[in-house]
């Protein structure tokens, strides 16, 4: 009994409710005529789409920078990479990895500057990160209009300049990871092996990194800055490194998302990508200053499962689309829950 109580306390009521809700959705799905195999396939797919964006939050949480509300910067670096890859007409794996490689310089530069900025404003990172992200997204909106891209599939047809709001990656690297070694069972079930392998690979790299010398130092800076300073670790340097890694992972994350989703979304699209990622890692059990691989994987699975299952199941039951409202309440409620919990280490 006591064990159960501490378990519930550690795990947190919101997570238990979400977990039970998701399980009940799966149980009721067949009863209301929703195909279970198609749903599960969808959940895997969306899990893979979002997992790396969620993973991108880990380094900054570990180094004590809090939730990366400025993930939009990483996403924009990724957008620059993928649009350049399309501009150069790179195809297949060349196109996909080309996009990642092309995004690297941007993410390193942006991440470095962003990290320097966050070092100057310790304690206020989250609010500032949010507004730095917003204003940068707006600045890039202007850039997408004026940058000299010329590939006809990317620019507005009638003007011949300015990028489209959504650009298809079909014919370039559509579903390049999803279809790699994909396992098809029946008409509706596809297991996206390549996608999940890539996610697993990234998560493994992060796991190894967090156990390396730099990774340990980074965690130390986050959990006990004074101790870290006493052992000769430069807090500012570690924080900057964590921001750069987070930004680069954000870039990779959005490129992985695009190859599965099929479109590059520009202009104001990066902003609404950030909050679901944050909600996911929090649902997985992370808090503002501690996150693990398990939190990432469990959280993404639960949150994306919820997003996939609620529209189909709830809509069949109630005959209305309440998924948007549920998504809004669950994801923001989760962030709110995390923000209002007592922090173990106060700065």
């Amino acid at each position: 009994m006591r064990n159960l109580k501490t378990f519930i306390q550690d795990f947190g009521w919101p997570r238990i409710i979400i977990f039970l809700f998701l399980v009940s959705l799966f149980v009721f799905a067949p009863a209301v005529g929703v195909r279970l195999d198609a749903s599960i396939s969808d959940v895997f797919n969306r899990f893979g789409q979002y997992a790396i964006l969620v993973l991108a939050l880990v380094p900054m949480i570990q180094s004590g920078c809090g939730l990366n509300f400025g993930l939009a910067l990483g996403i924009i670096a990724g957008l620059l990479g993928s649009t350049l890859s399309l501009q150069l007409e790179l195809r297949g794996f060349m196109g996909f990895f080309g996009a990642i490689a092309l995004s690297a310089p941007f993410s390193i530069l942006l991440g470095y500057l962003y990290g320097k900025l966050l070092n100057k404003v310790k304690g206020e990172e989250m609010t500032i990160a949010m507004y730095v992200g917003f204003s940068f997204v707006m600045l890039m909106c202007i850039m997408w209009l004026v940058l000299p891209y010329s590939n006809p599939t990317m620019v507005w047809g009638y003007a011949g300049k300015g990028l489209r709001t959504t650009i298809t990656v079909e014919g370039y690297w559509l579903k390049i990871l999803n279809d790699f070694l994909a396992i098809k069972v029946g008409r509706f079930f596809v297991f996206p092996t390549g996608l999940l392998l890539f996610v697993g690979f990234c998560a493994f790299c992060m796991w190894v990194f967090l156990r390396s010398k730099t990774g340990t130092a980074m965690t130390a800076v986050g959990s006990n800055p004074d101790f870290a300073r006493a052992s000769g670790v430069s807090a500012d340097k570690m924080r900057t490194i964590s921001v750069v890694i987070s930004t680069f992972l954000g870039a990779i994350g959005i490129i992985v998302y695009q190859q599965s989703f099929g479109f590059v979304q520009l202009y104001t699209a990066p902003t609404p990508m950030v909050f679901p990622a944050i909600a996911a890692i929090l649902i997985g059990g992370a808090n503002i200053n501690k996150a693990s691989m398990v939190n990432v994987l469990v959280g993404t699975f639960l949150f994306q499962g919820l997003l996939t299952m609620t529209p189909s199941v709830i809509n069949s039951v109630l005959q209305t689309d309440m998924s948007e409202v549920i998504r809004m309440i669950v994801s923001n409620g989760m962030i709110l829950y995390a923000l209002t919990r007592k922090m173990k280490v106060a700065k």
Partner: protein, 374 residues
């Protein structure tokens, strides 16, 4: 040395304000708008927005930063207006009716907001921001699913065709500019909505008076230092909640004034930008997270909106694209918020560092610590 320092301090204190003034002045001539048109627009927007921006003041006094949770009040006001239209209460009476409906809702929401922020001390701003999103979900649930199905709506014209849920755009014809038009004074070529400005002036008087009351003094003490205030016997948490409740109620009234001037209500996203515009305005006016005055509000509203008026057209003339002007004005709005938050956080950290090093070097006490290294 000292003059140079004070100029530097002036620039860093008012960086956002200075940048804004320069950009706006520079954009006036390429926009091709006449000065009298711009002035008329600014007068209209002063009447429309000032009340909302004034709602931000009390939480800043109480040290809770910029109250992004004011959106909650805006939503309460919108619910009030929906009912005013539903019961076809027209004219300024309709606005009073909307306020009466919105009042209890905004008090309740303000109490929730204050209680949540008390659990997230030091992170009030980001918490308020997310709370606004969260309550937005609940607002949508009520307005889109409950109204017309569980909550009775008499006026079928405001319902979606499926029979429940309020239409995406609500025509506020019955209350449109009913407050502004009670007494519209013509000053030279300009129309001035006198009653709206009288109400705004009354609110300013209220704020000035409130700052001098016991509660107002307590609030400022809490804003200075929560620990000291607590030791002095001030109920810190309660005072903070009251600050937020008043702010939320004011935001509710402010949103009603805003919408009666606009004349229609985008049911599901009219409140999305409320916090953003209000916060951007007060920061542009020279306020910071910890320090704000009534003057900041009016300077900010004038500057921000003057720029909003000229920038789309200036963008079109200069770059041949209205979209660039539109993105530019949003970039400037968000950028202004980001910049002033950064400047503030950077300065307060520097002050803390200086104080620390002053403490370390000078045994003469920490009285002049802050100036020790600067």
């Amino acid at each position: 040395m000292s003059a140079k320092k004070s100029i530097g301090k002036f620039i860093s204190d008012y960086a956002v304000l200075i940048i804004f003034t320069v950009i706006t002045l520079a954009a006036i001539s390429p926009s091709g708008l006449s000065i009298s048109y711009i002035i008329q627009e600014v007068i209209t927007r002063l009447g429309r927005n000032s009340f909302l921006v004034l709602a931000l003041l009390l939480p800043i006094f109480a040290g809770m930063g910029l109250n992004f949770g004011m959106t909650l009040g805006a939503m309460a006001g919108q619910i009030g207006l929906i009912f005013a239209v539903n019961w076809s209460v027209a004219g300024w009476q309709g606005l009073v009716f909307a306020v009466l409906i919105g009042l209890p809702i905004s008090v309740f929401l303000g109490w929730i907001c204050g209680a949540v922020m008390n659990k997230a001390k030091g992170r009030e701003m980001v918490t308020g921001y997310i709370l606004a999103f969260f309550i937005n979900g609940i607002y949508q649930f009520f307005v889109l699913y409950m109204m017309g199905s569980v909550i009775p709506i008499r006026n079928a014209a405001i319902l979606l065709s499926r029979g429940y849920g309020i239409r995406n755009t609500l025509n506020l014809e019955s209350v449109r500019q009913s407050l502004d038009n009670i007494f519209m004074l013509k000053v030279g070529p300009f129309l001035v909505p006198v009653i709206t400005f009288v109400i705004i002036a009354l609110l300013c008087v209220f704020i000035v008076w409130f700052k001098r009351t016991k509660l107002g003094q307590d609030m400022r003490a809490v804003g200075q230092d929560m620990v000291v205030a607590d030791a002095a016997g001030i109920p810190v948490e309660k005072t903070r909640i009251i600050a937020i409740i008043i702010s939320t109620v004011l935001a509710c009234v402010g949103q009603i004034i805003f919408l009666q001037n606009m004349g229609n209500l985008a049911t599901y996203n009219a409140h999305d930008q409320t916090g953003f515009f209000a916060v951007a305005a007060i920061l542009v006016g020279g306020a910071s997270v910890k320090r704000a005055s009534i003057a900041n509000v009016f300077i900010g509203v004038v500057l921000l909106h003057a720029m909003f008026i000229v920038s789309p057209l200036a963008g079109q003339r200069l770059f041949g694209s209205a979209m660039i002007g539109e993105y530019f004005r949003q970039f400037i709005g968000y950028g202004a918020i980001a910049l002033s938050l950064v400047l503030y956080a950077w300065k307060s950290r520097k002050a803390a560092d200086d104080a620390r090093s002053g403490l370390r070097h000078g045994a003469s006490g920490n009285g002049n610590g802050a100036g020790g290294q600067a």
